[in-house]
């Protein structure tokens, strides 16, 4: 069985899909991620992450109409599923919880000593 763990890269891909809403397909996701992170994201990595998350049921996909622009291929459009949303929320909660337990002086002490 595929695990339902949400990887870090997967998390931001998932968020990018959410941001793009009904225009979330591979190339668009790649560009969105590059815009957001300022890094170059390889297209293969995006394709792999999307398809893996589809396998995990975090994403669902549908195909658009074919256009000549894409060599006659249809776009594969992704949408975040309820499960995906839950996973995102869980990941965020985990972070919030952990942040809340970090005391204010935790980082400063490094400078003092």
């Amino acid at each position: 069985m595929k695990g339902t763990y949400l990887g870090e890269f997967e998390e931001i891909v998932l968020l990018a899909v959410a941001i793009l809403y009904d225009q979330a397909y591979g190339l668009a996701i790649k560009k969105e991620l590059e815009k957001q992170t300022g890094r170059t994201i390889s297209i293969g990595a995006v394709h792999a992450a999307c398809n893996r998350m589809q396998d995990k049921n975090f994403l669902e996909a549908s195909y658009s109409e074919a256009t000549s622009k894409r060599g006659g291929k249809r776009k594969k459009l992704y949408k975040v599923t309820v499960e995906g949303q839950k996973a995102l929320t869980a990941a965020r909660e985990l972070r919030d919880r952990m942040w809340s337990q970090v005391s204010g002086s935790a980082f400063q002490s490094n400078f003092l000593t």
Binding site: Y25, I43, H47, S68, R70, K75
Partner: protein
């Protein structure tokens, strides 16, 4: 179609993606890539876009995307199991045949690997020096009147230093004076050190002989310093438990010298694959102290060896080109040394294999022998593979029906190839396994013949630096397995289905042509090998039986009293030893000489007739002997008399009598032996009277020409006694010799050996060549026989029906025999015709190395041919007997 409007991604890349990725990803991936590429090209232009695009392909190289490929699918694994079962069943059913196949391969591989072990050892010489590529030795050829009179590596002590001074290409040099055997004394104990050399302080800087103790920069700076090998240090001072530092500064004495030698270093034993072999290095300065500054700066004394270290990247040929001027500058034609000196350089790495120089101090081998062996190894391996291919192809006939049935059941051609290829690889692997066993079995014998310690390590080139060989070999070997497996697999799978099932498969197709070519080739190699072996053995017999002109039989040699002083009593001591010896009846004669038969004599370069009109000088060898030498060795006197006891004189300058040999007589252009008597010759700035002329005899082996020799009456401490003994009572003679020796020369070690054995050592390389050739001839014959046997059994099998019919119609066994042999006899004839010129050529090449050799006789070819024919007949006889004894009804039912 508006594809042309939008830029299209590179076809190749898209094809790659389609090949790589599983179908379910393709629509999305292809579409996105297409769109992305269009954008890329718009922004970056075509070239950069393509670059980015191709680079992005790497991001698809993750297993997640991969199309599921049936690389080793379970269902096919079952097929391989099936192939294996079938193969084993087939091996079992055709036991003899399969064994022949495997054994033939194994023998071929084993022979090849054995030879390769040896060859890679020989090629590894001197590669362990870290400066090996920059090290050269100075070669000095000498000419007189335009003729080469000496080719060697001995030269003047000034050459190395002068070259370093005059040529910036020469970074450093080292000088070596060979010391030969030395007697080392320590605490009144005597040790024989077989190999010692004198060398200067650069020696251990140029060469990489590792030290165990001592200051590597200053080992041999002053006189009376010495470096010992680990093994000699252990011998002289007892085992040191690895701590040799304590030996530094201790002293030894050498020969009678009372001056102590200080140990400045202990080195590891010299590796076996080193040109120079030595156990003790004495500082060169010692040699200068003992022999005067001539040893340092003489332009006429030429007994020294030089090695140069060139600057990295120096073109040795360009440097050599400057040597002619160098020679002119220092030797002024033949005005300085009596001959014209020509210098050249030999790379150290080649010295071991390519030295045919006189006065060689290194350990040498014959480079041509090495390459010959390599060719032999290759030939044997090729024969073995061809054998294998041919036998397997012949098998096709028998397997035709199997192939047909498999095809009907839906086997693809690829599957059939796989099946037969599996079998081939299996057989080859079995052959390889058996070969390893055979190598382990034969290696001790082979090592003894070659006098080399062979190992897998040397084959793999480990520690020797030469790793190219194993790589090339592995490549060739894998290719061989592949080809010998692939060819039969292809032929077997090619059978036409309908023809096969109708059992009308034609045995006289294209496959037969290769079979015939193979048989011709095998016969050819066999004939050349057999004839070659016969010739080598003939030549060896000639070496052993040729009358040398002197008699070495039953001659025992005893080392002279090296620790006895050279003084006015010396001659009397020797004479009393001789008369003491002759008291024993089994001692027939005793003589003393500086050189023994087989030794390379020293040369003089300024020989002249006293009555000569011109200034022309000649070169001749010289040999100091005592007055009984000629009689004891039975050298034939042509005119005059032998030396007398009174011809000797303890004062070197008072000697004035010489004997000449016939070659010297001719060199000096005397009309006859009588003409020369009482005439005078001049050399070493003195006149000498000719008292007698000896007939020519072979002082050295039959490999080299007889040279002019001048004998003079002298002997000394470092000479040898030659004792002629009665062969019936040699034990008694030996015991008596030892007793007499110890009585007259107390404190000296008695050491003896036999002259014939020593003389024979000159032919060692020929003897081992003969043995190796014999061994491989045997292997070639075995493999050829196996091949022939296998082929014939198929010839008989194919014609089972025909033979059955013939038998029923009344054919006799001999006529069946003739039927089978006819084809092969014709092939043998062709092989014979091709092999004779080949054999003659290689024989002439080999014989040309010897000054005295036999002529090639025609009967050895006939013998070789007949022998090969006999082998064929035996194989055929076996088969025809089988065919003839078979019940014809059975044969007819066969199909």
């Amino acid at each position: 179609m508006n594809d042309s409007i939008d830029p299209q991604p590179p076809q190749l890349a898209m094809r790659f993606i389609r090949w790589l990725c599983a179908d379910r990803f393709l629509e999305e991936v292809e579409g996105d890539l297409w769109e992305w590429y269009a954008e890329l090209e718009e922004i970056h232009g075509k070239r950069k876009a393509r670059f980015h695009f191709y680079r992005s392909l790497f991001s698809y190289l993750r297993p997640y995307f991969f199309r599921k490929r049936n690389l080793i699918p379970t269902i096919r694994l079952d097929m391989y199991k099936n192939y294996l079962t079938i193969a084993l069943r087939y091996f079992y059913r055709r036991k003899t045949h399969s064994l022949i196949n495997i054994f033939g391969l194994a023998v071929g591989i084993a022979a090849c690997l054995l030879i390769l072990q040896y060859v890679s050892y020989e090629l590894s010489f001197d590669r362990f020096h870290s400066k090996a590529d920059q090290l050269y030795r100075v070669v000095n050829h000498r000419f007189q009147n335009g003729k080469l009179i000496q080719k060697g590596t001995i030269t003047y002590p000034t050459i190395g230093p002068t070259m370093e001074e005059e040529f910036p290409e020469v970074r450093s040099h080292t000088r070596i004076f060979p010391g030969g055997r030395s007697v080392v004394r320590s605490d009144e104990e005597i040790f024989d050190v077989e190999h010692s050399i004198h060398a200067d302080n650069n020696f251990f800087k140029l060469f990489s002989y590792p030290l165990l103790a001592g200051d590597s920069d200053n080992l041999l700076v002053n006189d009376y310093k010495v470096v010992l090998s680990q093994r000699q240090a252990d011998r002289i001072f007892g085992p040191q438990d690895g701590n040799y530092q304590t030996l530094i500064g201790r002293t030894i004495r050498i020969y009678r010298d009372e001056q102590p030698y200080e140990i400045s270093g202990i080195m590891k034993n010299v590796p076996a694959n080193s040109l120079l072999q030595f156990d003790m290095v004495i500082s060169y300065q010692t040699f200068i102290t003992q022999n005067g500054t001539d040893a340092d700066n003489s332009w006429t004394w030429s007994d020294f060896h030089h090695f140069l270290e060139l600057q990295p990247g120096t073109d040795a040929k360009a440097l050599e080109a400057k040597f002619a001027a160098f020679s002119d500058r220092h030797f002024k034609g033949d005005q300085v040394s009596g001959s014209v000196e020509e210098f050249s350089l030999q790379p150290l790495k080649q010295a071991h294999l390519y030295s045919n120089f006189e006065y060689e101090i290194g350990q040498t081998s014959n480079g041509r022998l090495i390459w010959t062996l390599l060719i032999v190894a290759g030939l044997i391996l090729v024969i073995a593979w061809l054998n294998y291919i041919n036998l397997s192809t012949a098998r096709a006939i028998e397997r035709a029906r199997e192939v047909g049935v498999r095809k009907v059941l839906g086997s693809t051609k690829g599957q059939l190839i796989q099946q037969f290829f599996t079998e081939s690889v299996l057989l080859n692997m079995l052959g390889l396994g058996l070969a390893v066993v055979l190598i382990e079995l034969f290696r001790p014998a082979f090592s003894t013949i070659l006098n080399v310690d062979l190992s897998w390590i040397s084959l793999l080139g480990l520690g020797n630096g030469g790793s190219i060989f194993p790589i090339v070999f592995t490549g060739v070997f894998l290719l061989g397995i592949f080809l010998s497996g692939a060819y039969p697999a292809l032929v077997l799978s090619r059978h036409n289905l309908s023809a096969v099932l109708k059992t009308k498969f034609n045995s006289r197709g294209s496959g037969r042509w290769t079979g015939k070519a193979l048989v011709v080739f095998q016969f050819m190699v066999s004939i050349v090998f057999i004839a070659g072996t016969l010739l080598v053995y003939q030549q060896i017999k000639y070496f052993q039986n040729k009358d040398l002109g002197i008699n070495l039989e039953d001659m025992m040699v005893i080392r002279g009293p090296e620790l006895t002083a050279w003084d006015s009593l010396f001659f009397e001591n020797i004479q009393s030893f001789k008369s003491e010896m002759l008291k024993e009846s089994s001692v027939m004669g005793v003589t003393m000489s500086a050189r023994l038969p087989g030794d390379r004599l020293g040369r003089m370069f300024d020989l002249q007739r006293e009555d000569a009109s011109g200034e022309e000088k000649f070169v001749a060898s010289f040999m100091p002997i005592d007055h009984e030498w000629t009689k004891n060795y039975q050298a034939k006197l042509l005119a005059g008399r032998y030396f007398r006891y009174t011809d000797h004189n303890i004062d070197w300058n008072a000697l004035d009598k010489v004997l000449l040999n016939k070659s010297a007589l001719e060199l000096l252009e005397f009309e006859s032996s009588e003409d020369a008597l009482d005439k005078r010759v001049r050399f070493w700035d003195r006149n000498w009277q000719i008292v007698g002329v000896l007939d020519d005899f072979h002082q050295e082996s039959l490999q080299v020409p007889i040279e002019p020799i001048i004998f003079f009456p002298a002997y000394g401490t470092f000479n040898f006694f030659s004792v002629k003994v009665d062969s019936q009572n040699s034990e008694k003679a030996l015991a008596h010799a030892q007793a007499s020796y110890e009585k007259i020369f107390p404190g000296n070690a008695f050491q003896h050996f036999y002259m014939e054995e020593l003389y024979d050592e000159q032919y060692m390389s020929e003897y081992s060549f003969g043995k190796i050739l014999g061994f491989f001839t045997f292997l070639a014959i075995v493999i050829a026989c196996l091949g022939l046997f296998g082929l014939l059994s198929y010839a008989a099998l194919i014609r089972t029906k025909e033979l059955g019919v013939r038998k029923i119609l009344g054919a006799s066994t001999p006529s069946l025999f003739m039927l089978l042999i006819r084809d092969f006899a014709r092939l043998l004839g062709i092989a014979f015709i091709i092999s004779v010129p080949l054999a003659i050529y290689s024989m002439q090449q080999w014989l040309s190395r010897f000054e005295y050799h036999i002529d090639i006789q025609w009967w050895i070819f006939i013998l070789a041919g007949l022998f090969t024919l006999l082998m064929a007949l035996i194989s055929v006889g076996f088969q025809s007997a089988k065919a003839a004894s078979r019940n014809p009804v059975e044969a007819l039912r066969y199909e």
